[in-house]
Point group: C2
Chain length 218, copies 2
């Protein structure tokens, strides 16, 4: 398998959501052009993205939606559920603990950590909060591979180091700071300003754009 660009994975997730919507509407087949349009790109992009992973669909007929959806689900590793640890039970952490979208998309935050003794031992939305000192043992016992960092900027690097030491292999980081990390661990920074820059572009150029992405995904 070739190195897959990050944007391809992102679009696969988007295709998957669009396909779910189409299935709910009782539709069986979709063309790459339709799928591309509904996903905010185009048919060429869809065909190119899928080509990384083999042969899909029938020329002149399109994709059988249920089959394509199930193959993309498998490619994304989303055919099971994922257990996730969350570190930093501030406002953002608390919000994510009760984020409806995660559970719906098969991500279960099953444990939280904080240094604040007033939070340790409590449950937030059914999730127990443990002290940072218990992190290594708890994560190894529960065999968790995925973690979310929602600590303040100045603690993010330290927390990332502890997570890697505990055996975490993929980290989603919400702290707006660059973290250095071991090469075999996947780190993804969520940059919320980047989403707002998309709005800025639209407001600056909206005389040129008609808003095809209205209500779209991603």
């Amino acid at each position: 398998m070739k190195k897959i660009p990050d944007m391809v994975i992102r679009r696969l997730s988007t295709y998957s959501r669009v396909l779910s919507d189409l299935m709910e509407k009782g539709i069986d087949l979709v063309s790459s052009d339709e799928l591309g349009k509904l996903s905010g790109c185009n048919g060429t992009q869809v065909r190119k993205d899928l080509a990384y992973f083999g042969q899909f669909g029938t020329r002149g007929v399109g994709y059988r939606i249920s089959e394509l959806k199930s193959r993309i689900t498998k490619i994304l590793g989303m055919d099971g559920r994922w257990n996730v640890a969350l570190i930093g039970i501030g406002n953002l952490g608390t919000a994510l603990l009760s984020h409806e979208g995660f559970r719906r998309h098969k991500f279960d935050i099953i444990i939280g950590f904080d240094v604040d003794k007033s939070k340790v031992g409590k449950k937030f939305n059914g999730v127990e909060i443990k002290d940072m000192s218990e992190l290594k043992r708890a994560i190894s016992e529960k065999d968790i591979k995925m973690a979310i960092i929602t600590v303040p900027v100045q603690s993010a690097q330290t927390v990332a180091n502890i997570l890697v030491d505990a055996g975490i292999k993929a980290i989603l980081n919400f702290a707006p700071v660059n973290i250095s990390i071991s090469k075999d661990v996947f780190l993804k920074n969520v940059d919320l300003s980047l989403e707002l820059e998309g709005l800025s572009f639209f407001l600056t150029h909206n005389e040129y754009q008609n808003n095809e992405f209205n209500g779209s995904y991603g």
Copy 2:
């Protein structure tokens, strides 16, 4: 100007961040290949994305970083600051009010709204919270065009309608629900599960992937 795909805008923001980092390191020139690699894509993609907006760089020399950075900033409409309204002062809303990344990237949340009387009239991180009933007048007085929705799923559509009625032209929606909206307003949904699916893909395929995106942007 042609219709610009959403992903292109997203990458422009990423290029802009990479260019800032290079400038801070005192570097003057960058090739499209280098810029692509640092941005998690490749040189062809960089050249293709920039081609939407005109002529950039010199063949065999590369891009003058300060010039490219300033042109991308202008394209994104980020050569000034943006005033933003935030609706829904729950955990997520409160977290975003104090999000360091926004102010650093020239987005100022200058007003918040909630229906909860215990929050109305208070200040969170210096931002005054007003009652929803004051929204229309306040947004029109302050001439705000950009808003962030952090209300619960069941209120998101109602809030979006009120925002459009108040003259808001671009909305960032954190509620995990599909909102329908007038065609001349730009709506962007933040789907945090999509970020986790990137982690899932990596954990499923990491025997094939070496993690070039480690510590990368976007």
